[in-house]
């Protein structure tokens, strides 16, 4: 699958498409790989309004008015990887911390008090500091408070995913960051994450390990975003073909400033970000799309319900920070700092339905 995705991405020449191609695609009701390529092209950028009209219709068809709310919790920010775009990278001089199990439970209680039932647990990649057993204990305690537990941690072996699933994890987010192998090696200078293929095959190992769903994503701005999203979409498409029961979701983060940042990014503008989200929506309308707190309030408020159906709220991207004072520095700067209650009110105002619980662990 890796070869197929990379080969197709390599051959993807988005400049060859014309407005006539886009018009032809817009008259369709279902969109295949070739249509996806056209929808992501610069030619389609002038058709954002008709794309949005179709996108919203599909969002309503598949998700109704529902917007799932969740919050991330950073358990630790120790990391052995040197990823040039990340604030947690091992050479960055930041305050490192790791919550102990009592501190974790305090955080859970504070989050659960807000009504949230869906949590995403994150760590950096440091098997010495945040080993599998540490994550497993955090998960076991989380099952007392939450119905949906997702992880966004380092890539694991299949048996390790299986173990965490048995402990209570249902969803795994693993972002390839970029599907351009050369660029991948440039920005992942050292550490286990440097192994492109091991990371690429994480979703498959997670599903084989019994997980209910997996998330895909590229960090927009690291490389050519059109090619990266094309690859992201194809990656998910092929995984869904092999594992048709899997729940698929996308995140579309853009690079955000972080402490001690040296400029590593190629700008991706909001207009392009929306195009990317719409192209994914039309290609795989059953997949959920998460809108990050990295984005501005205005952008988030407008894309939720239009293309995005998962939204984080009450976010802290430092270690801890929901209950006690934050223990370690942040991974990146967030843009939308609104509380859960504020997001709840916003959704109601927009005629959308905040969903706190949408899963039964089976």
């Amino acid at each position: 699958m890796e070869d197929l995705v990379l080969q197709k991405t390599d051959l993807y020449d988005y400049n060859k498409y014309t407005q006539a191609d886009v018009r032809r695609v817009l008259s369709k009701t279902q969109f295949n790989e070739d249509d996806f390529a056209i929808l992501l092209s610069p030619a389609a950028q002038d058709f954002l309004e008709p794309l949005a009209q179709i996108g919203q219709r599909l969002t309503r068809q598949y998700f109704g008015n529902n917007i799932t709310l969740f919050t991330p919790l950073y358990l630790a920010n120790f990391c052995e990887n040197h990823c040039t775009y990340c604030g947690f990278n091992c050479y960055n001089k930041i305050k490192r911390a790791k919550l102990n199990i009592q501190e974790i439970e305090h955080e859970y209680k504070a989050i659960a008090k807000e009504g949230l039932k869906d949590i995403l647990l994150l760590t950096g990649e440091a098997r010495g500091q945040s080993d599998l057993e540490y994550i497993a204990s955090a998960v076991r305690v989380a099952t007392k408070y939450f119905n949906t537990i997702g992880i966004e941690i380092y890539s694991l072996d299949e048996h390790e995913y299986k173990y965490l699933h048995e402990c209570g994890v249902d969803f795994v987010s693993i972002y390839q960051e970029t599907y351009n192998k050369e660029r991948y090696l440039q920005v992942h200078k050292s550490g286990p994450k440097r192994d492109f293929s091991y990371r690429f095959n994480s979703q498959e190992r997670a599903l084989k390990g019994g997980m209910r769903g997996v998330a895909f994503g590229s960090l927009l701005g690291l490389s050519d975003f059109r090619k990266d999203i094309y690859a992201t979409g194809l990656h998910a498409f092929y995984i869904q073909k092999i594992y048709p029961w899997a729940e698929i979701s996308f995140s579309v983060p853009r690079i955000r400033p972080f402490i001690n940042e040296v400029n590593v990014k190629t700008d991706v503008y909001e207009k392009q970000l929306l195009q990317v989200m719409l192209a994914l929506k039309l290609f795989l309308p059953f997949a959920s799309i998460t809108i990050s707190t990295r984005e501005t309030q205005k952008f988030r408020d407008n894309v939720v319900g239009l293309v995005a159906t998962r939204m984080s709220a009450g976010v802290s991207v430092g270690v801890g920070g929901h209950d006690d004072e934050q223990k370690g520095d942040e991974q990146f700067e967030i843009s939308d700092k609104r509380s859960i209650d504020e997001i709840h009110q916003l959704l109601y105002k927009k005629g959308l339905q905040p969903v706190y619980k949408d899963n039964i662990f089976l």
Partner: protein
């Protein structure tokens, strides 16, 4: 005439079942009222007892709850969800949904038969959601189903009765209520299905995605009632051709 829909020994006057999963919860009571429904489905995965935005808090008392097993990928998972529903007080009705395809959300008929059998044995009133296949419907009857719920088109598609001919076969051959469950996008399609002799209609997306959900709920109520009346009245003659042929092919018999 006392025309009741009877499912598992329970009689209902309304032949419209509301799916509650896709619209804002605060609209649920008014939609239920306008649609005149006596039964509403709810996804147990959404039930958030004691928590925020719990669907169970929005369904008025007196409406029969039809929890569905959405999220189940196997018969075993469906059985577990149904038991959880019973535990939290949703009653004995269950709509079995076993889906292991996130793209089209098409039901797995084989697993659905297994789940129906197990749940019927445990005293549930089982209403399985299925792809309209006569052999499967017969197996579901034998497994103890209380009604059969074939899809008209993929869930949420609002495409109408794409499986019309196969649903007609179920109506003609199966002695349980046939309830069209998915794909009904317009009141006219609901009416068409009811005219065919379908026992009831379930809809969700069609109402949830309307501009005025309360008005659309009422429109569905009226369409379902009209379709039922038309079925009971017996449809009149519909000619396939504009008129009778002027040069009859059997005229030679008279010469």
């Amino acid at each position: 005439m006392d025309d009741k829909l009877v499912i598992g020994g329970h009689a209902f006057t309304s032949r419209f079942i509301l799916g509650s999963g896709k619209f804002s919860l605060d609209k649920t009571p008014v939609v239920i009222k306008e649609a005149g429904v006596e039964m509403a489905t709810l996804a147990l995965r959404r039930a958030n007892v004691g928590g925020e935005e719990n669907i169970l808090d929005y369904i008025p008392k007196g409406v029969t709850l039809l929890p569905n097993t959405s999220g189940a990928r196997t018969a075993d998972e469906a059985v577990r969800i149904a038991k959880l529903a019973r535990e939290i007080g949703c009653g004995d009705f269950v709509k079995v949904e076993v889906i292991r395809d996130t793209k089209y959300l098409l039901p797995d008929n084989m697993e659905t038969i297994k789940a129906t059998q197990q749940l019927a044995n445990e005293g549930f009133v089982v209403m399985p959601y299925m792809y309209p296949d006569l052999n499967v419907a017969r197996d579901l009857v034998n497994a103890g189903a209380a009604a059969i719920m074939p899809l008209g088109a993929p869930i949420g598609s609002n495409k109408g009765l794409r499986t019309r001919d196969f649903i007609q076969i179920l109506v003609d051959e199966i002695d349980l209520p046939i309830i069209v469950d998915a794909g009904i996008g317009r009141p006219s399609q609901a009416l068409e299905a009811m005219e065919m002799g379908v026992a009831a209609i379930m809809a969700n997306t069609a109402i949830a995605t309307a501009n005025d959900v309360a008005k659309m709920a009422r429109a569905f109520k009226l369409a379902v009632e009209a379709g039922r009346l038309a079925y009971l009245a017996g449809l009149g003659r519909v000619l396939d051709f504009e008129a009778e042929a002027s040069s009859p092919l059997t005229g030679f018999l008279d010469n």
